[in-house]
């Protein structure tokens, strides 16, 4: 077991938010440790090819320019520790006298659990694709849009010969273009919402939105490119089921004109993103149910301070808003922290923070429009009773409903943890990340509550599944 290491700042997550935060804390002279379970810096939007790969024109599109510039700057910094390939399992209270935090970290290559101490912590864990249950969704070949995208970006692997995309998020347009550019075939892009619903979200906000015209232009250009390449793009086309034996062979969609069966070996869902917030919930910081896809976003003040002194959040952990906002919020968290630590002059810090907040405010209309335009809530497919909702513990919608009904007999205000105890949904390897939102929505529907009123699973250590043997190598907390 390694000795504990001590820093002014530990940052969880090396994506746009974590990198922007690190740039500020390092710039203020604070000793900084950046931790990510991925092997390289960049986060989800910039999942880098492995070292030793050379990829011509990697992520050279305009949408990636600002994040790439940040990545290049941070990779040149040498005054900090980057722990790649280290999974953060938990954030807990630090030394009894000195305060601060103790992070439990698993080095994936060597195993075991190490402890990292930090006076302050920034959680910038990002977000993950909303997993949506429907008949056949557990077939190999059905995956998240992010999975397809990150396979293309990093190892440069096309996961299928014919890839179908479905969901409600416009990121599908970007992904379809990336598949084509990689020489792949897109079997169709299926937006579940009708075109008029998307235009209705766009219309009233147009003046504010036009200030962030670049992504709109890219979207329109992308749609035109897909049409030209002969890729069918449908609106109001909702997934019904996925079919196949040992793996996916086709998906069936329903729209006004009738049913369509689309042959494909990969079908990728894109209904939006849930904040990655298990670490902040575990340590007890306040969160709230997020709009749209849901999940838990961390409550924070205008300086990105969570409800726990010394714990800051940045990027999608504080609410899904895209990589430009993630970078700005990361920088804001870093600046606030540096001021709180006395490493940055208050007046100078306040000036920089105000400028960052102004830039975030300018992006707000676009973020709000995108959220409304991509909102999956009215378009989520319905699982059948035998469909598994919890993939890890194989809990069907039928078993889940029975557990919900049993809980309802005892107590009106029951939450997801009570249901979990009865049917094991959320007890598996993913620690409930995949099914929690679905369990909450089913409870809400059955008991006539809003999802935001239903308590989620109690977030427990470890945030990532670790074999008991490796946990036992864990250091006893220093006293």
């Amino acid at each position: 077991m390694n000795a504990s290491m001590s820093y002014d700042v530990a940052i969880v997550g090396g994506g746009p938010a974590g990198m922007a935060a690190a740039e500020r804390t390092i710039g203020a002279g604070l000793s900084t440790c950046l931790i990510d379970e991925q092997p390289r810096l960049g986060g989800q939007i910039l999942r880098q090819p492995p070292p030793g790969f050379a990829v011509t024109g990697w992520q050279s599109g305009r949408l990636y320019r600002a994040a790439r510039a940040l990545l290049a700057r941070v990779e040149r910094l040498d005054a900090f520790d980057f722990r790649a390939g280290h999974a953060v399992l938990g954030v807990g209270a630090g030394h009894a006298e000195e305060g601060g935090f103790a992070l439990s970290v698993q080095p994936l290559a060597t195993g075991g659990v190490e402890r990292i101490d930090a006076r302050r912590v920034i959680v910038a864990g990002g977000c993950y694709d909303m997993p949506v249950a429907f008949p056949g969704w557990t077939l190999p070949g059905v995956m998240s849009a992010g999975a397809v995208q990150t396979l293309l970006k990093s190892p440069q692997v096309l996961p299928g010969g014919r890839i179908a995309l479905f969901g409600t998020h416009p990121l599908m347009i970007v992904l379809a273009e990336q598949i084509l550019a990689a020489g792949g075939e897109v079997a169709g892009v299926h937006f579940a919402q009708p075109r008029r619903a998307m235009l209705a979200a766009l219309g009233p906000r147009l003046p504010g939105v036009l200030r962030a015209w670049r992504p709109l232009l890219e979207g329109a250009r992308g749609l035109a490119n897909l049409r030209q390449a002969g890729v069918p793009v449908h609106f109001g086309s909702a997934i019904v089921r996925a079919e196949g034996g040992d793996a996916l062979e086709a998906i069936t969609l329903l729209r006004a004109g009738g049913r369509e069966r689309v042959a494909c070996d990969v079908a990728a869902m894109c209904y939006g993103f849930l904040p990655q917030s298990d670490l902040v919930r575990q340590v007890g910081a306040a969160v709230r149910w997020a709009p749209g896809p849901g999940g838990w976003e961390t409550l924070c003040d205008e300086g990105m301070r969570s409800s726990l002194p010394g714990l800051y959040v940045a990027g999608e952990t504080a609410g899904v808003a895209g990589s430009d906002v993630a970078m700005l919020r990361g920088a804001l968290a870093g600046v606030t922290l540096a001021c709180d630590a006395g490493a940055l002059d208050e007046v100078e810090g306040a000036r920089v923070a105000a400028a960052l907040r102004a830039r975030i405010a300018r992006l707000a209309p676009f973020t709000a429009m995108l959220r409304e335009l991509a909102d999956p809530q009215a378009y989520l497919p319905e699982p059948e009773l035998e469909t598994l909702v919890c993939r890890c513990e194989d809990v069907s919608a039928r078993a889940l409903d029975a557990a919900i009904a049993a809980c309802a007999e005892g107590d009106d205000g029951f939450g997801a943890s009570a249901v979990k105890l009865r049917c094991r949904a959320g007890m598996g390897l993913c620690q409930g990340r995949s099914c929690e939102h679905a369990v909450i929505r089913r409870i809400a529907r059955a008991s006539g509550r809003e999802a935001a009123q239903v308590a989620g699973f109690t977030a427990r250590f470890p945030a990532r599944a670790v074999p008991i043997a490796e946990l036992l190598e864990r250091d006893a907390p220093a006293r």
Binding site: E37, Q38, P39, Q44, P49, P50, P51, G52, F53, A54, V55, T56, G85, A87, L108, Y128, D129, P131, T138, L139, P140, G141, V142, M143, S144, G146, A147, V148, T150, L151, L152, S154, P155, Q156, V157, L158, P159, G160, G161, R162, G183, D246, A247, L248, D265, V266, Q276, L388, R391, C392, D394, G428, L429, C430, R433, S434, R464, A465, P467, E470
Partner: protein, 102 residues
């Protein structure tokens, strides 16, 4: 088998190494994830659930745990890992099912 493949145009990769996957040889690129190597080889079924139904990877970003396999480097012990987070290297053995207790 799927129509999966490595993108070749504009991509230079290091020389392949050989993985042992469930006892068979699989050529893979050092540095790419074990999951990427499996996907590129056309494999989609990674495990069976309690009903014996085929399952595959879902997120490729460490959150779903559907890609969990057992890996062993050289003479070290088997450890359970998410295949999407394990870089390929020489001397790596991968099992998609639990190793026999010895």
């Amino acid at each position: 088998m799927s129509g999966a493949r490595r993108i070749e145009e504009g991509v230079r990769r290091p020389d392949r190494v050989t993985l042992r996957l469930d006892g068979a040889d699989l050529a893979a690129c050092p540095g790419e994830s074990v999951l990427a190597a499996l996907v590129a080889s056309g494999a989609r079924r990674l495990r069976d659930d309690r009903e014996g139904t085929a399952r595959g990877a879902f997120c490729n970003m460490g959150t779903c745990s559907e890609c969990t396999v057992w890996v062993r480097k050289g003479a070290a012990a088997w450890v359970r890992r998410r295949a999407c987070l394990v870089p390929v290297e020489a001397d790596l053995c991968v099992l998609t099912h639990a190793p026999e207790a010895t």
